[in-house]
Symmetry: C2
Subunit: 332 residues, 2 copies
Amino acid sequence: MNKQILLAKRPEGLPDPSTWKLVSTGIPEPLEGEFLIQQHYISLDPAMRGWLKDRKSYIEPVGIGAVMRAGTVGEVIKSKNQNFKIGDFVSGWGGVQQYSTSNGENYFKVDPSLAPLPKYIGLMGMPGMTAYFGLLQVGKLKESETVLISGAAGAVGSIVGQIAKIKNCTVIGIAGGKAKCDYLINELNFDGAIDYKTENIYEAISKNCPKGIDVYFDNVGGEILDAALANLAMHARIVICGAISQYNATGKIQGPSNYMSLLVNRATMEGFMIFDYRKQYSEAIKQYTLWLQEGKLKSREDIYEGIENFHNTFLRLFSGEKLGKLILKVIE
Amino acid sequence: MNKQILLAKRPEGLPDPSTWKLVSTGIPEPLEGEFLIQQHYISLDPAMRGWLKDRKSYIEPVGIGAVMRAGTVGEVIKSKNQNFKIGDFVSGWGGVQQYSTSNGENYFKVDPSLAPLPKYIGLMGMPGMTAYFGLLQVGKLKESETVLISGAAGAVGSIVGQIAKIKNCTVIGIAGGKAKCDYLINELNFDGAIDYKTENIYEAISKNCPKGIDVYFDNVGGEILDAALANLAMHARIVICGAISQYNATGKIQGPSNYMSLLVNRATMEGFMIFDYRKQYSEAIKQYTLWLQEGKLKSREDIYEGIENFHNTFLRLFSGEKLGKLILKVIE
């Protein structure tokens, strides 16, 4: 049987268990030109919260009663498609379920001998691509700049910081709790770490970035974005990657009150969608592979097990109770 | 005697008459290398409100007891400087007073036979330069785009809209009241005008910009910025020029709640300081002179008289009771 997580109803604020419905259906048969994938791992990402809203955004909302959308990595176990053979490992948009079929569109093959499967939905997947193109192309990072990152111990932030270190930048990360801050300093060699749960964020940024922030890579929005705006260097670039502090807000989103700092500092705030860079993904993957081989890059996956645990695992995105890329293993 | 407006105390919220002090002092004598200017006109600009705050920004605050800072245009009536002769007309930072001396730094000569004196603190001065470089260089305007402007009947906004029309764009202006909206449509040939005092700003922008906004030139901030964010086209550019709706706020500035629209639309929000473009001013002045001769550009000055009326005239910046560039004539 194929266990699936369906969207049962649209949540107000933080999703509760009634948001989802676990069902078992028959394993689908691939049609002509299709193949069947047994999914091993499912990617859990903050963006998923946005897909639950009944509002057209960059992508259609997940329909009520539909399988929850998610990135996946798994193995082809049946095929009526010449390009994908039994035994191939593939990554794509399989959704929160154990089996899915595809005609190959938006699927690509991965090689588990080069990197463990979970890395293909982390460093080598959407989070890694987001870090690479967000920092280098949107943020226009230059050597020796000061880079501040929120959500710095997360799937995207931890990669952003390591790329910036490779580019000889001063890197300050913001994260919640001592364990994550220690990880940034001791494991990833960040120059500074700020615990937003215990420190005055304005003072801590000012102290850690005495020359001001050249690039702020924002994953969280809210108060931390305001504090970063208050500490910009001239010609700073703010990369808007996410706003996880606001995703479960039931009222109005907290806008950046200090945005006039953009004017005083001749600074830019820019948003992006990683899909726009898909033609360049191979460049990033090649670079990551090299950096991994050289030992310059570490990526950490926080893997939970069992599709039944989807809801509780999903909540870790917002509670912060995870370290690195959050992944659910769904193969039994 | 030289009548001057001094800053008596820093205002909380909207300045009241006790913010200022009118004094009469002796007319200063130019030292060696200096010249004496009798000021004819004083420029009143929203930015002046920012200079009253006791906080280092892009420029030092005006000191308590100091002459209020302002752009001016006037005539040289005494000179001990070889480059500036009696009878020369000059524009610079003379402050809110009838006479001032200068060594020539940051002063430039103007020609009243080419354009009336008030235009040198309007179209040919800071507001005109702000419109030109803000729209073309920061906003990266392209032919045939949709341009939305707030404060559209003001000194900067009215020029921005006319440049965009010259560039074959669809131009929508937001202003307060029927008279201003009529002016935008009938005098400046804007394609649409929105009266923010009577219309639902979200609906009106959506109706007037069916393809979305490519460039939003923001002079006001607040609710209107949020409504613009909700109506962006892909790859939109928001030029942050000012936030007049927030300058007298005593509490926290209202940040743009809809800023995540930057992400969905791969859009940019950028601030700038016109002084950074000073080496290119002559290019803009040359272009404006040509457009004036061709009848493609109109600029309107709203001129009040008497340095004693400084306070009441200044308040018109925020009440909106003015049309075009606000100027005070101080020569008696």
